[in-house]
Symmetry: C2
Subunit: 243 residues, 2 copies
DNA sequence: AATTCATATAACATCATACAACTTAGGGCG
DNA sequence: CGCCCTAAGTTGTATGATGTTATATGAATT
């Protein structure tokens, strides 16, 4: 017989226990990024369980992005990319969207991005400034009809600024917001004609240039102001498109 | 040589394909939260694969928080909580922390929370105001030595304000920041004596009261200002603790 | 009649084995 | 030396058997 009282929260499933155990080893950096974990067979011996259990534990870890499993080779600690974490957030936002997501995104950007632009104006390096300049050129060169292409460039512009804060937390948390920009843009343009779009591209370009100039001049106040103006215009576009 | 172009997203592994297929069904809301998925056996027949494959697919989905598997009962679509998504973010932040995490958190709060407090001042309901008042009382009543308890109350205070923006995106994205507040606080208090703590509690209380008053008065400017003052003080505490 | 209890059935959990598909390393060959 | 090819190792899939847990059914009790 086993213990009469099972500690709460202690995963009773073997695969869960082993998942925890391996996760802990990774968190402790016993196995560092890129390193190979023991083979399935070795893990079976170590934990004294069947291959089924070990495989399911590894599968769970891979689903969470902690490890990658390569057939014929082995299981490796993942060079941690933020993708799986971001994906989780995006999935949650999508599944719990009660219709307010797009507007929440728009308002969240108004809250966060002006401050971000201000900090970026203070912290940006020369190299980051160059990247922003290149991004402006790319937007200029894009064709009017290529909305998706412009959106990608747009996202890149704002992501660059978030990165230029040199604050990993800020850059990471903005990702789900940026990832949803295509959805916002599609919503705005769904009911509008092409003539409107050409106007929009030049408008976006103008705002981006203003923001760029302020960041170039290391002027946080103006960067923040220009960013807010940009996002207010976006909100207006969105509201207009609702009618 | 493998094929030069593999259809993107087409997982070559069976368990991956089936995972995708079930995930898609959930995203399409073919199966809604709480509903029971087909049994392992049924899924085997539907997809024409072995139980091994089906089980591993379900394991991955459960690791990502999309389904919960109950022994003897079945697999159910998870009432989606944000927990697993937040956990992913927190794990990523922990594993990629190069030592700057705590400071990034402190600065990120300074960027975001003043604006959040301002919006909360505009959007808060009377009920939310009551909850904030109750939180202040709880902080007053807490014992000086119970740092962990105070931290929990502190987190609750700031979370309530984020929720009072009535912006789901904002509330969600702030969660990882709040979850890391204990780490920040421990770092600050690690080298300080008890006398300092008593002073700190009264200081935090004062700031919280200022913020509360501004939100109560529906004064976004003042709420934002009071919040920034609070967070600047936190930063000062942190910097002092480094010496 | 309602409740409790025991039992049967269904569903998931684990184990063991076998074979297929893939990777990698090492040896043979030109 | 470099290429190819084989062989061993590792993961992927399939299958069958058995253990554990949940649920429904119906009998027994009050």
């Amino acid at each position: 017989m086993d213990t009469p009282f099972r500690k709460v929260g202690s995963d009773k499933l073997l695969s869960g226990k082993i998942e925890e155990s391996i996760e802990l080893a990774i968190r402790r950096k016993d196995y560092k990024a890129g390193e190979k974990l023991p083979t399935e067979g070795q893990l079976c011996d170590l934990f004294g369980v069947s291959r089924t259990v070990v495989r399911e534990a590894l599968r769970k870890l891979s689903a969470r992005g902690l490890v990658v499993i390569k057939q014929g080779s082995g299981a490796y600690v993942n060079e941690l990319s933020s993708e799986s974490a971001i994906d989780s957030i995006n999935l949650f936002l999508e599944l719990t969207d009660d219709g307010s997501l797009i507007f929440d995104i728009i308002r969240a950007r108004q809250l966060f991005e002006p401050e971000i632009a201000g900090l970026a104006a203070l912290n940006r390096t020369a190299a980051e400034l160059d990247e922003l300049a290149g991004n402006l050129e790319a937007l200029k060169a894009s064709s009017m009809e290529d909305i998706d292409g412009q959106t990608i460039i747009d996202i890149r512009f704002h992501s660059l600024i978030a990165s230029a804060t040199h604050n990993n937390v800020v850059a990471l948390l903005m990702r789900p917001i940026f990832d949803n920009m295509p959805k916002v843009k599609r919503s705005i343009y769904a009911k509008n004609n092409l003539g409107y779009l050409t106007h929009d591209k030049s408008m976006v370009l103008k705002f981006h240039e203003d923001i760029y100039e302020a960041i170039k001049n290391a002027d946080p106040r103006e960067a923040s102001h220009a960013m807010l103006a940009h996002l207010k215009a976006t909100e207006k576009n969105f509201k207009d498109s609702l009618e």
